[in-house]
């Protein structure tokens, strides 16, 4: 199925919807240890060596690399870009500081701390308002993780992936690749070969994580790819809420970001994963920007488990990502709430996969796509009900908002239902922000800018309410900045 809607109706105010500056586009001048561009087995050995990884990790990377060589880039997404030269990318860049990783914030380069302050991510623990634990990833390596002691008391492990490979090797070996195998897809396989860092979370049986966990990703160095890997494990009855945020400097070249996120929920466990993605989207003419090719998947492995993805995607030149849930346990629940913005020349091809395997599994999909300027926004979703998934339920709602006459909204819903007791619903709407709505607000004394924000926020309400409170405010602000100046 392909419902394509393009706007050709009159637009005057809305027409002007296209001018906003990227606010995180600064570059931090910091000495970095960067490996020469190019990819081969030696580079992988070098990365693994720099990180002092155990043998199993190197073996896994090499298996992935060899498999990757047999694969080709996927072509099915509704996006266009020049061919990517994988040999022109540097696969490792780390701020060069002390020989060993910093043990506390006092040892972190003050320039890095400054960078995060600028981004609005204060790492100083006392400065944290709401008690959110933060792991900050700068280029390829994790630079700081806060609140670790408090978390450790509750039995929660929250650290950089590199550290987990060393200190919790057994857990990593047990779960790594168990949701997204190294052979999964072109970008996930590339990530498996070259990933440099990311976050690791382990919440033991029966523990409710005492605070929100958060990772902040930042690409700084030029011509580097960022390949991080996140693994979150919630044991029986454990609960955890996790948020990631991302930014990058403004550069004319495109930069590749190919991340992998794996979530494992055992019996009765709940994982809530929220993303506010604001990678540099490129300029008004479509020059530069991040290629965001990400594989995110959750595995509801145990009965009565629940995994919920919430994403607000405002950045990146191209977004290619489908956070998915494998509903294996009986009565397990999968959710996907998404706001995706495509302004200027941004292209977003995003959606989800819900695979119903267990009985009485339920999934909910709410997708809100906003297209402005020349932006192209596609929702691509798969709802699959296997033969054994008795009484599976899915509800999908897919709404598109158009803000100019040159943008596009596309919906590609796929359904495969192999069990007659399943109930699958799909609703889709396409609307435009209307002159009538804007005039109505303005005639009440509200500025155009505020009116647009109000109308767009209203459109996204069902998704924003799923975000943790502070991040909902952040997301709303981000959306306002992204669409700033889009109207006269």
């Amino acid at each position: 199925m392909n419902e394509t809607a393009s706007m050709s109706t009159q637009t005057s105010d809305v027409e002007k919807l296209v001018r906003s500056e990227y606010r995180h586009g600064f570059v931090t001048d910091i000495e970095a240890d960067t490996v020469a561009p190019g990819l081969n087995e030696d580079v992988i050995r070098l990365i693994s060596g720099k990180k002092h990884e155990p043998q199993f990790m190197l073996d896994w990377r090499l298996r992935a690399y060899r498999h990757w060589l047999t694969m080709r880039e996927p072509q099915w997404a509704h996006v266009r870009h020049a061919p990517i030269d994988y040999q022109a990318i540097s696969y490792y860049s780390a701020p060069k500081s002390k020989r060993n990783a910093p043990k506390s914030l006092d040892e972190v380069d003050p320039k890095l701390l400054e960078t995060y302050e600028k981004l609005g991510v204060p790492l100083h623990e006392r400065a944290r308002l709401a008690g959110v634990a933060v792991d900050a990833v700068f280029d390829s390596v994790s630079v700081a993780t806060t609140f670790r002691e408090k978390l450790a008391k509750a039995g929660v492990i929250f650290c950089s992936f590199s550290e987990a490979v060393k200190s919790h090797a057994q857990l990593v070996e047990q779960y790594l690749g168990s949701v997204v195998p190294y052979s999964d897809n072109f970008f996930a396989t590339l990530n498996s070969a070259v990933f440099t860092d990311g976050s690791f979370v382990f919440v033991p049986k029966g523990v409710r994580c005492p605070m929100e966990l958060s990772t902040y990703f930042r690409i700084n160095a030029a011509n580097t790819g960022q390949f991080e890997r996140t693994l979150i494990i919630a044991e029986e009855g454990a609960h955890v809420s996790y948020l990631e945020g991302c930014t990058a400097p403004m550069r004319d070249e495109n930069q590749l970001h190919a991340a992998v996120v794996e979530l494992v929920a055992l019996e009765g466990a709940q994982i809530k994963y929220s993303t506010v993605q604001n990678w540099y989207p490129g300029d008004e003419n479509g020059v530069g920007g991040i290629y965001n090719f990400v594989t995110k998947r959750g595995d509801c492995r145990g009965n009565d488990s629940k995994i919920s993805w919430t994403q607000v995607e405002t950045g990146s030149a191209i977004t290619w990502k489908y956070p998915s849930v494998l509903l294996r346990g009986d009565n397990s629940i999968g959710e996907f709430y998404s706001v995706a913005v495509a302004n200027h020349h941004q292209q977003a091809d995003t959606g989800t996969k819900m695979v119903h395997i267990g009985r009485n599994t339920r999934s909910t999909i709410v997708s809100k796509g906003i297209s402005a300027g020349h932006g192209q926004n596609s929702y691509r979703g798969l709802v699959k009900v296997l033969a054994g998934a008795e009484h599976a339920r899915n509800y999908t709602q897919c709404d598109s908002l158009l803000m100019s006459d040159r943008c596009g909204a596309h919906t590609f819903p796929y359904m495969e239902v192999k069990n007659p007791t399943a109930k699958v619903e799909h609703e889709a709407t396409t609307s435009k922000i209307s002159e009538d709505q804007l005039f109505y607000c303005r005639s009440r004394g509200i500025s155009t800018e505020d009116a647009v924000n109000m109308i767009v926020s209203g459109f996204c309400k069902d998704v924003f309410k799923e975000l943790p409170m502070e991040f909902a405010v952040e997301a709303q602000r981000l959306l306002a900045v992204t669409l700033e100046g889009t109207v006269g």
């Binding site: 105010d13 607000c441 004394g445 509200i446 459109f459």
Partner: protein
């Protein structure tokens, strides 16, 4: 307060207003009547600042300002209010949230302090009682799923909260049953004062039974053809518009 001189306007290449004159003083209530397609709603929209109209001639001053150069939100902040004939739905935007944003935008413009949510809610609830509106309408999305009558009441509620100097009412009586009409009319009457003015666009005389106008104008063919007091409305109800058109042609 409002002075319209020789206003000519066209939309999509078609002349709608062809030399309209109108003077409105503070404290006055004017009714503008006329056949369908005479330009009544166009006039209301032009005054409120809707885009898409080409002003080819004439001028409009409002409180001494050149109205036609002002953005719609500036006009609203200077005390102009348009009650829409067809209020638009805005999904996901809370009704009271929009109203509070409007109220505070206007106060900010006047250099007054913003009202917080609690005080504002109290203010709105008091006005809602006057309009005999169900409190649930506050927490619903703007006009979404409102009945025709609820939409019109909501417009007048907004007007009572924003307390405009010049209220423009575009066919506010259309689609109302008699009980709703009485409530809406009493809301409008409540706003009338020596400092304010009301301009009502209407098809029917029946609204004027409840809101007594000081002046009645007949708008046809893009001009005010005849003006009088409320007895003119009664005569129009009885005789229709043809005789006015004939008189003007003569």
């Amino acid at each position: 307060m409002l002075s319209i001189k020789n206003l000519h306007a066209r939309v999509a290449g078609k002349d709608i207003l062809k030399g309209l004159d109108l003077e409105v003083q503070a404290g006055e209530t004017h009714a503008i009547m006329g056949p369908n397609g005479s330009g009544k709603s166009t006039l209301a929209h032009i005054l409120a600042g809707r885009e898409g109209y080409e002003i080819t001639h004439g001028s409009v001053t409002y409180l001494g300002m050149e109205l036609l150069t002002m953005a719609p939100e500036e006009r609203a902040r200077e005390g102009m209010f348009l009650a829409f004939q067809y209020p638009v739905e805005i999904p996901g935007v809370n009704n009271v949230y929009l109203l509070k944003a409007a109220y505070n935008a206007i106060r900010k413009h006047r250099g007054e302090e913003q009202l917080d949510a609690v005080d504002f809610l109290a203010l709105v609830k008091a006005k809602m009682q006057l309009m005999e509106m169900d409190a649930s309408l506050l927490s619903r999305a703007v006009n979404e799923g409102f009945s025709g009558g609820e939409k019109k009441r909501n417009e007048i509620l907004q007007m009572l909260v924003l307390e405009p100097k010049l209220a423009l009412l575009d066919e506010t009586d259309s689609g109302l049953d008699i009980d709703a009409l009485k409530v809406v009319a009493s809301g409008i009457n409540r706003l009338r004062s020596p400092e304010r003015a009301v301009v009502m666009v209407t098809h029917y005389q029946r609204l004027l039974d409840y809101i007594e106008p000081d002046f009645v104008h007949v708008l046809a063919g893009g001009r005010i053809l005849k003006s009088g007091d409320k007895s003119l409305a009664v005569e129009l109800e009885r005789r229709g518009y043809d005789w006015v058109l004939a008189e003007a042609a003569a």
